[in-house]
């Protein structure tokens, strides 16, 4: 198995995915699955709802069902493309005939997945699509006086570069992605160490790395960025220390 290197996910903002699917169970299951992989996912149950959400929020990717009530998936897709909307679109559908695939792709879908599908395949295709759209992603981010360059994998604080190990960098990127939100050890285990089992041994490893990271990033700095919430997890936030 080819391990996806952490670089692929080393983007500084979570990928936002909109799921437009009318079957409630499927939609929620996909959302839960995507979120546990570190994506930020929302659900729309109809074409209209989906379009209005796309209007109001910036979205990186759309997982779009073809057979929707009211405006069907193809209509939504056409409108999307006609407006010049850029998000990558993965078309999901029970229609598997060759003409349908061709129609779907020609109307602007970037990929096509036939139901029922293996969730692992959905994930792999989502990853592939986000690799493609990542080229445009901004790989530099600034929080307070912390600057991160995900392309060169370097960080600076107050103008001075800080050298981090591979793991420490990935850890920091994960915290940055969830900026302002709580990140549990479980999430870190999954997203940084790619470990999905409830592996208690990792807790200590995580703590150790985090301690090192905090030392490098926060020691001697006027503002602390990395915070621990006992029993819950960690958070990266620009906060004046009390």
């Amino acid at each position: 198995m080819c391990l996806v290197s952490a670089v692929e996910n080393a983007i500084l903002d979570r990928v936002k995915i909109l799921i437009i699917e009318d079957d409630g169970k499927t939609a929620q299951a996909i959302r839960r699955g995507l979120e546990s992989e570190g994506y930020e996912a929302a659900v729309a149950r109809t074409g209209e709802e989906g379009l209005s959400q796309l209007n109001s929020h910036a979205v990186d990717m759309v997982v779009l069902d073809w057979m929707l009530p009211g405006r069907d998936g193809i209509e939504v897709l056409r409108l999307l493309r006609a407006r010049g909307n850029k998000p990558a679109v993965l078309l999901l559908t029970a229609r598997d005939a060759v003409e349908d695939r061709v129609t779907g792709l020609d109307c602007g879908a970037d990929d096509y997945l036939v139901k029922p599908f293996a969730f692992a395949e959905l994930l792999a295709r989502v990853r592939a699509l986000s690799r493609r759209t990542n080229q445009e992603a901004d790989l530099r981010k600034q929080i307070g006086d912390l600057i991160i360059d995900a392309h060169s994998r370097r960080i600076w604080r107050a103008g001075k570069e800080i050298i981090l190990t591979l793991r420490e960098f990935d850890l920091l990127v994960c915290l940055v992605r969830y900026e302002g939100q709580i990140v549990t050890r479980q999430m870190l285990a999954r997203e940084v160490w790619r470990e999905t089992n409830r592996a208690t041994p990792l807790d200590n490893v995580i703590d150790v790395h985090l301690a090192h990271l905090r030392k490098k990033v926060d020691d001697g700095q006027p503002t602390k960025l990395i915070h621990t919430l006992r029993g819950v997890g960690f958070r990266l936030r620009e906060e004046t220390s009390t």
């Binding site: 079957d23 169970k25 009211g70 029970a94 969730f119």
Partner: protein
């Protein structure tokens, strides 16, 4: 043509011979007129006649005068011909026959008693038959060659004509051969709709039209069924797979399992309905016709669905008619009526009132199910009986139906010879009616 040839040949043969014989008779008379007896008793050519034996007119006319077996006078071309035998004529009769010289020349001979100057002799005239034979032979050859030639010509001509007459057919055949399942929208060209071929083409095109429509319906149904089956499968699978990826406690796992089982149930219902439809449609479902009281059917349906209605706060009112008896298959009709009632309950608002009324008239008996819900627009009144048809596609699975209930009801009722219809106006509720021919009733139980 072959039959004609021998007839023609023999006619010509006969005619030529008749002609020759006639000529011989004339010859005989002419020659007899020119013969005379000299004082010595010899038979001589008449000296006073202008024509002599060497005149061209007599070149071909050969004759012999015999008395007994003695040749008195002979006018015959070649001298060294051997003596021909003489057939003694009986009395005055005429003998006409053919002989052959020793060289093989065929001669036609006429012999007759003549009285030349009182002397009784036998005058014999002869003509060469080989000319006649040659003519006949030429005719025969001509016929023999001509017939096959004509036959070939006729065959060829016939072939060309037939080809031209049939070429519209071969055009049609070629077009028809090109029509396959994927190109059922093609039609045969029909430049002459009024002749027989044109009528054939028109009928063929009509059949193609019906075939095309049937296939369109079938394609649509297959696509719909495929979607309806795949949707719960997808939910099943995705829910299961995602749950496995997460670490979950027993409670959320239980929830997941419950959710999966719900979908499995729905799938099972769907498959059962589809299979039932297929079996009944294929005619392989054995009907059991018996005398059935419709109010029993109505009551049974209400009992089965009473709980469902109660959950929605709906009220079902039964108006029975104990005379409504028909000859039907009880199970099928029960299923149909239950489906219709189920449909009414699902699509009516909570607190609605649903009326289930059995009726009987002289002609028809049946059950009517009416509600006071929002009603359905006229254009959908027929479509509701189509498989997987839903007016509001957003409600596809939240209301729990399979989308096949009314389609099954329609099939079951119509297969038994009954009728099913929907009457509705927006805002005025729906009335579904099922009816059968009224059967003769014995006294109600």
């Amino acid at each position: 043509m072959l039959g004609m040839t021998p007839v023609v040949y023999f006619l010509i043969d006969g005619r030529l011979h008749v002609e020759l014989d006639r000529q011989l008779r004339i010859d005989w008379s002419l020659i007899e007129a020119h013969l005379e007896l000299d004082p010595a008793g010899r038979v001589l050519w008449n000296k006073s006649s202008p024509a002599t034996l060497s005149s061209p007119g007599y070149a071909e006319t050969w004759f012999e005068v015999w008395s007994g077996s003695e040749l008195l006078l002979s006018h015959f071309p070649t001298v060294d011909q051997p003596i021909r035998p003489l057939r003694s004529p009986k009395g005055e009769t005429l003998a006409v026959y053919s002989v052959e010289t020793s060289l093989g020349t065929p001669l036609r001979t006429l012999e007759r008693i003549a009285h030349i100057g009182g002397r009784k002799v036998t005058l014999r005239v002869l003509r060469d038959e080989s000319g006649l034979h040659r003519t006949l032979r030429e005719i025969l050859i001509g016929l023999a060659l001509g017939i096959p030639f004509t036959a070939v010509l006729a065959a060829f001509g016939g072939y060309l004509m037939a080809g031209r007459m049939l070429s519209p057919v071969s055009v049609m055949v070629k077009h028809a051969r090109d029509i396959t399942l994927d190109s059922l929208d093609q039609r045969l060209p029909n430049p002459n709709p009024n002749d027989e071929l044109g009528q054939l083409a028109a009928v063929f095109n009509e059949t193609l039209q019906r075939l095309e429509q049937s296939f369109e319906l079938l394609k649509r149904f297959t696509a719909d069924a495929s979607h309806e089956l795949r949707t719960p499968l997808t939910a099943l699978r995705t829910v299961g797979e995602v749950a496995l990826r997460e670490e979950a406690d027993a409670d959320s796992l239980r929830e997941t399992i419950g959710s999966i089982l719900e979908e499995a149930q729905h799938l099972g219902d769907l498959i059962d309905s589809l299979l039932l439809l297929a079996r009944v449609e294929s005619g392989r479902f054995p009907f059991h016709i018996e005398s059935v009281r419709l109010d029993e059917i109505a009551a049974e349906a209400c009992e089965r669905l009473g709980l469902l209605a109660m959950e929605k706060g709906q009220e079902i009112v039964i108006v029975p008619n104990y005379q409504a008896v028909v000859s039907i298959d009880r199970k099928l009709t029960q299923q149909a009526v239950t489906n219709i009632l189920d449909n009414a309950i699902r699509h009516s608002q909570p607190g609605a009132k649903i009326l289930v009324r059995s009726f009987r008239t002289e002609v028809a008996s049946g059950i009517e199910i009416s509600d006071n819900g929002p009603g359905i627009a006229l254009e959908y009144a027929r479509q509701v009986f189509e498989r997987f048809f839903r007016i509001d596609r957003a409600r596809s699975r939240t209301d729990g139906g399979t989308g096949l209930g009314l389609a099954i009801a329609k099939l079951f009722i119509e297969q038994q010879g009954g009728t099913i219809r929907l009457e509705s106006l927006p805002g005025q509720g729906c009335t579904f009616g099922v009816s059968f021919r009224t059967s003769k009733i014995t006294s109600p139980a």
